[in-house]
């Protein structure tokens, strides 16, 4: 009974304005953290799933030694609950069934074609879908399986080159297969140059019957694995000791193009989430402090009536608990629909939607956030209420208002610091954010103080401008506090906004609309001029051609490279032939990191090589190191004279090793390579090209580019959604701060009106005051945000820094308008208070 009464008393507490603000802040905190967490989990799922589609699995095991993967390895995977499938890749000639005897067809269609075969087992693809057309005019179907035994799917180009029809018979080695349809898109489009010829797909169980794959022939076996992360990891632990040098374990997280984007997106989400938590905590702190100040008279009265400190403490602890419960429930009630909406939005982009799961574990951070916000931010000022002297009833003590504020802030900040470190698992990131904020507060405080003090000389008059300026100065303590909070909030929000824009632009710039979508490989030197003429006729931009010599890196500073490079540094590039090139100019998107380019080297350029920076790091190469490459039977010595970075995801030819023209490679047999953009409407040109230059391999990248763009769009949407939540939290903080001054403003408003201030004047001067505050805060925020971005871009996201004029110019005005609106919203109750209140002594 007693507890029921207490419960009712606590409910009555919610009618208090400050309690409502605390509650709102808590709800926003819980909702933001909850929604971000749930959604980040979902997004992770989405990204992993759609990225896994690149592998057609969660993990791939590549075997490049021509030996099939041990069946026992598959059995072990299956016993650990993983799904498996198998894939065999090789190149071979495809013949129309009757031409193997009659030597070509009269009407010009080639009777044979070099194709790149992908033979897949049942179960393929484990992730993603195969796009398939039953005939040239049939609808595209998304299938979860490959061809059946006895069937072959060919890509459109093979169909055209060989003038095949659906149902025709073709021969792969000794086996006759029936063309069952068109392979439009395979989920695991290859990045490499191993598949130079057009793709056909058949069943893995048919491979033996073709007799094409013999021991020692150039063939790649790939094992596909999918399942729980933990199972995959424990399987890899089991597998790793048994893997040979030619085995490679691939996951999308280690793949190149996307993992960078994913890592950046993940860091962005974490940063956004951290800022939201920080903002919400500030809102809770501001509002609960306000509540505690209001409660002092009540506490003093209760003490006079005989309540002891302990009872008072317990009384407020119960209230805090009630707030906590209400905040968590309210926050979750808000988070779940937000999460659901965001996830549906993200799912719309997916070929195969991910289930919108409710993961109870993702709720915990939200609850912990609520608890930390309550106990680190709301509790200290309330706890101090027990020491309010009963004497206060008779005489309010001087300046007890600011007691303990330093201790409170220190406690709150430590709590949030630990909380964020736990969330982000990135102490550096959190420390950077905190250090940034500390500097920011200091700078903002100093600036603000300077500005406000500059207003000292203004005296008021009946003009709204003068009243506004005077009010800013006279309430300088409050003005400064508000200015700092607003500027900080605006800085955080605009930093996040700028970061999002620059991330998205960076990603889009990596893959512009006219990114190269075709590679031409194996261009013979004598074809170079005519191919060049052909490409220039059809491509919209200038196209670079690079010579390519295949060679192995065999010696490093006189030692065989396998001994010189320690086992831990085992590098894939050492196991295979590298594409070596020579070039006069460095490609525009490469960047010289160390050393000098050819002209500065003079004579030494002839024996110089420029190395890609990541490979240099993995091999431990430095300027001046002596390398020896083996090309065919020849040895090519070279000195490392420069290290350069390369944009691997540029869809342009990139090289680990580049020599100078006229250098060591010139005398060696080379082929040429290029990439260019062919507009959609000109795709038929490729068929003409392959007929004109049958020996040149064409690699189509369009599907890959489309997939990467899809993922960038998804990440972009997630980022925007989270930015939206953070902005909402920012607005909540600003509203909380503005509301915290409501009490004082109501008193002041009533007095001013009694003294004869007209409503219209008060409205105008208050709007001006807030607008001015907002403008200054916006200006400071722009400067601070650009500074923060400068630091973040370099340290965290590895992007380029640019000053953002549109935001710089507009933010002060946006924030002025925003604060004027908040001010107007706050004025409502101020104007409603009758001046009679002063006489009634209700304050």
């Amino acid at each position: 009974m007693k507890s029921a009464m207490r419960f009712v008393a606590n409910l009555r507490d919610f009618r208090d304005r400050s309690v409502r603000v605390v509650l709102m802040a808590l709800i926003i905190a819980v909702a933001t953290v909850g929604a971000i967490n749930l959604f980040a989990g979902h997004l992770q799922q989405v990204l992993v799933t759609s990225s896994s589609a690149f592998l057609a699995a969660d993990r791939q095991l590549d075997s490049e030694n021509g030996q099939p993967i041990d069946a026992a390895w598959y059995r072990e995977a299956q016993s650990r609950g993983l799904e498996t499938a198998e894939m065999v890749r090789f190149s071979t000639m495809l013949y129309t069934a009757d031409t193997s005897q009659s030597q070509g067809q009269a009407d010009g269609g080639a009777g044979f074609q070099l194709v790149s075969v992908k033979a897949v087992s049942d179960g393929y693809p484990l992730r993603g879908q195969v796009e398939f057309q039953a005939g040239p005019n049939a609808a595209v179907e998304a299938l979860q399986h490959g061809p059946a035994q006895g069937e072959i799917w060919v890509n459109r180009r093979v169909l055209a080159l060989m003038q095949l029809d659906i149902g025709d018979a073709v021969e792969v080695g000794a086996l006759q297969l029936s063309v069952a349809g068109i392979l439009v898109r395979e989920p695991d489009a290859s990045f490499g140059f191993s598949s130079l010829a057009p793709r056909v797909m058949m069943h893995a169980d048919d491979v033996a019957a073709t007799q094409v794959v013999q021991p020692g022939s150039r063939v790649e076996y790939v094992g596909l694995f999918a399942g729980e992360d933990s199972a995959l990891e424990s399987y890899y632990e089991w597998l790793q000791p048994q893997m040979g040098a030619s085995h490679e374990w691939d996951s999308i997280r280690e793949g190149q193009t996307l993992s960078d984007s994913l890592a950046r997106a993940e860091r962005f989400l974490l940063l956004g989430g951290s800022l939201a938590v920080l903002l919400a905590a500030v809102a809770v702190a501001v509002a609960s402090r306000q509540y505690a100040l209001q409660q002092r008279d009540t506490v003093a009265l209760l003490k006079t009536l005989g309540l002891q400190s302990g009872q008072i403490r317990r009384h407020y602890q119960r209230r805090l608990a009630a707030w906590g419960v209400a905040g968590v429930l309210g926050g979750l009630a808000l988070a779940l629909p937000i999460y659901w909406g965001l996830s549906r939005l993200a799912n719309r982009l997916l070929d195969r939607p991910v289930d919108i799961a409710f993961d109870p574990l993702a709720i915990w951070p939200a609850i912990v956030t609520a608890l930390v916000a309550l106990f680190a931010f709301a509790y200290p000022p309330l706890a101090r209420l027990q020491s309010v002297p009963a004497m206060r009833v008779l005489r309010s003590a001087v300046s007890e208002q600011h007691r303990g504020i330093v201790k409170d802030i220190a406690l709150g900040l430590s709590a949030v610091f630990i909380l964020l470190c736990v969330y982000t698992q990135n102490v550096w990131l959190v420390a950077a954010v905190f250090a940034g904020l500390a500097v920011l507060m200091l700078v903002l405080g100093l600036f603000g103080w300077g500005l406000v003090t500059a207003l000292r000389r203004v005296t008021g008059g009946a003009s709204a401008w003068r009243l506004a300026l005077v009010s800013l100065f006279r309430h300088r303590r409050a003005s400064l506090a508000q200015l700092t909070v607003f500027a900080m909030v605006l800085t955080l929000a605009s930093t996040l906004y700028l970061l999002r824009s620059s991330l998205l632009t960076d990603w889009q710039m990596q893959l512009p609309e006219d990114a190269p979508n075709h590679f031409l490989i194996n261009i013979a030197p004598e074809q170079l001029d005519s191919v060049q003429a052909f490409v220039e006729q059809h491509s919209t931009q200038a196209v670079e051609f690079y010579p390519m010599v295949r060679g192995r890196l065999t010696q490093l500073n006189g030692e065989p490279v396998k001994e010189a490079v320690s086992k831990e540094r085992e590098v894939r590039a050492l196991n295979r032939e590298l594409n070596l090139t020579w070039m006069a100019e460095m490609p525009a998107d490469n960047e010289l990191q160390e050393g000098q380019w050819w002209p500065e080297l003079g004579d030494r350029a002839a024996r110089a090589v420029s190395v890609e920076s990541e490979l240099a790091e993995r091999l431990g190469l430095a300027l001046g190191d002596q390398l020896v490459f083996t090309v065919g039977a020849e040895e090519v010595p070279a000195t490392v004279t420069s290290i350069r970075s390369v944009q691997w995801d540029s869809m342009k030819p990139n090289f680990y090793m580049a020599f100078a023209p006229g250098g060591a490679l010139d005398s060696l047999p080379a082929t040429w390579i290029t990439s260019f953009h062919l507009p959609d409407e000109k795709q038929a040109v490729i068929n003409e090209f392959t007929r004109t230059f049958p020996t040149v391999s064409v690699l189509e990248m369009e599907h890959l580019i489309v997939r990467i763009r899809d993922i960038v769009t998804q990440v972009g949407q997630a980022i925007e959604a989270i930015l939206g939540l953070v902005l909402a939290a920012a607005l909540a903080v600003m509203a909380a701060v503005v509301t915290a001054t409501l009490e004082a403003r109501q008193r002041e408003g009533a007095l001013l009106r009694t003294l004869g201030a007209q409503q219209s004047l008060m409205v105008r001067s208050t709007l001006l005051e807030f607008a001015l505050l907002g403008w200054i805060a916006g200006l400071l925020a722009v400067i601070a945000a650009e500074g923060a971005l400068y630091a973040l871009q370099y340290r965290l996201f590895e992007g380029d820094f640019r000053w953002h004029w549109p935001l710089s110019l507009s933010l002060p005005f946006i924030s002025a308008a925003l604060l004027a609106l908040l001010g107007r919203w706050q004025l409502g109750p101020v104007l409603k208070v009758s001046p009679m209140r002063l006489l009634r002594r209700l304050d």
Partner: protein
């Protein structure tokens, strides 16, 4: 095109007479409705106060004194009746017009001082000067604070001042814009007897000196006795108390 509010004069009132009366009230009534029942706080109050007069309104707690003061100062609107302040009918004005009138003509002293805590003593006194658009608010405010004996404490915040000092700041503020009429609500109510007397002295002295009309609500019999006229209010009805000849002559 906006039209200035017409100021209604009663039939026997010539403009000259209106100027004589700093404050005139006719058939004032104030009623509040609580649910089904309506409650008369004030009914049929009429009075006329000449410029420069000092008037005390006395009565028990809850008798309607404060409500009457609020209506006289135009802080609230009556249910019936009219109030003329300095010849202008406030009851026909909008809230903003009443505010403008107060800025020019009216000063206030409150029981709980009502100084703005964030402002210094000087800034509190400057406030009405600024609202009335007077020149040199800083000099005038500091002069006034000198006069009430707080010349050394211009930049002190209200919480650094004692109750008596706060009320002296409030009085300086009330007289700052040289009002024609000053309303005081229990000006000594929060002060001890001795401090209260000092404050009363100051109030009366400034009243005489500036020729201000003074209307105050008070429980303080001594303070009430120092006024030229007294109105007694009981159960919402107001009656003038007959004073002795000495007071009537203002000696």
């Amino acid at each position: 095109m906006s039209v200035a509010p017409s100021t209604r004069h009663s039939s026997y009132d010539t403009p000259a007479q209106a100027q004589v009366h700093a404050l005139r009230v006719e058939s004032l009534a104030y009623r509040v409705t609580v649910g089904e029942e309506s409650l008369d706080i004030l009914s049929d109050v009429s009075m006329a106060i000449a410029a420069g007069e000092s008037v005390a309104i006395v009565g028990r707690s809850g008798s309607g004194k404060t409500t009457l003061l609020g209506l006289l100062a135009g802080l609230d609107s009556p249910t019936e009746g009219a109030v003329w302040l300095a010849g202008e009918e406030m009851t026909a004005m909008s809230e903003d017009q009443r505010a403008a009138l107060r800025a020019q003509r009216v000063g206030f002293v409150f029981q709980s001082f009502q100084l703005l805590p964030a402002l210094s003593a000087l800034e509190n006194v400057m406030l009405p000067l600024e609202l009335a658009g007077k020149d040199d608010p800083r000099e005038r405010a500091s002069d006034l604070l000198q006069r009430v004996g707080l010349g050394e404490r211009l930049n002190h915040a209200p919480r650094q001042l004692s109750g008596g000092e706060q009320q002296r700041v409030a009085i300086a503020r009330a007289f700052a814009a040289a009002p024609k009429i000053l309303f005081a609500d229990e000006p000594t109510g929060n002060l001890d007897a001795h401090t209260g007397e000092t404050v009363s002295d100051l109030l009366m002295a400034l009243n005489r000196e500036q020729g201000t009309t003074l209307v105050m609500v008070t429980h303080d019999k001594t303070l009430a006795a120092r006024c030229q006229r007294q109105f007694h209010i009981e159960a919402g009805r107001v009656s003038e108390v007959r004073l002795n000849a000495k007071a009537e002559l203002g000696l």
